[in-house]
């Protein structure tokens, strides 16, 4: 039992690895890529938010500020949501249960729609004033 003790290190997080059986490694790898894609998406949201403010794009300042704030808020919570999602998927894979419903996708849809609408209205207001 302890003959392989040099290789046996409890895997983190225990909440995921304490249950179920080893899934097909390809599914685990796909789950990891999805997680990384969401992290990258979060960084992109931050980049756009920072860029909007830093480059002083000519959009009505209040609309621009709210849109940038929304994007940066979304980008900040994105990694935590991605981690939660990774844990839930990995747990479902180990238990051979159906995958949980997508939470991240509606989150991104709402954020981008709101930010896009704000920037569109802000651009129209600026164009009208100019």
């Amino acid at each position: 039992m302890s003959s392989h003790s040099d290789r046996v290190r409890p895997r983190f997080p225990a909440a995921v690895y304490n249950q179920g059986a080893e899934p097909d490694p390809r599914f685990t790898l796909a789950n990891e890529r999805t997680f990384l894609a969401w992290i990258t998406a979060g960084l992109a949201l931050i980049s756009v938010g920072v860029g909007l403010q830093a480059l002083a794009i000519t959009i009505q300042p209040t609309f621009r500020l709210v849109a940038a704030g929304l994007l940066m808020l979304a980008g900040t919570v994105c990694p935590t949501l991605a981690w939660r999602s990774w844990m839930r998927v990995e747990t479902a894979l180990r238990a051979s249960r159906p995958l949980p419903s997508a939470v991240m996708t509606p989150f991104l849809v709402v954020t981008l729609t709101l930010a896009g609408a704000l920037l569109l209205v802000g651009s129209i207001v600026t164009a009208g004033a100019g």
């Binding site: 992109a44 920072v50 403010q53 830093a54 940066m72 900040t76």
Partner: protein, 108 residues
């Protein structure tokens, strides 16, 4: 006759995962450069300190992703040991959240 390279999976899953880690490193590096543009007018040359820190983080992510790939490959080919666990991912979550927060605080 050339020898066929042996891959564990015809769908190249480990390789695609390694590329995803590299992409994340690139995204962090890109954000580091954008943040530099924001803090340079305020901090001047001192801006190089946070910039180089984040750039080092970006390189670390790519390198650690590479090592994770080696680990994946070893575990999959030998059938011994497990795939890497959630330690590096959770470290990435903490790091990117901190970078995101500082970006938001510097800008707003």
């Amino acid at each position: 006759m050339t020898q066929e390279p042996v891959v564990w999976d015809a769908g190249l899953q480990p390789e695609r995962t390694a590329l995803a880690w590299h992409r994340l490193g690139l995204a962090i590096a890109a954000l580091a450069l954008i943040l530099t543009k924001v803090i340079w007018p305020v901090l001047g040359a001192f801006a190089l300190l946070p910039t180089s820190t984040v750039l080092i983080l970006a390189i670390s992510v790519a390198v650690l992703g590479r090592r994770r790939y080696a680990h994946h490959n070893h575990a999959l080919r030998t059938g011994r040991g497990h795939l890497p666990d959630g330690r590096l991912p959770v470290l990435v979550v903490v790091t990117t959240t901190l970078i995101a927060l500082s970006g938001a605080l510097l800008t707003l």
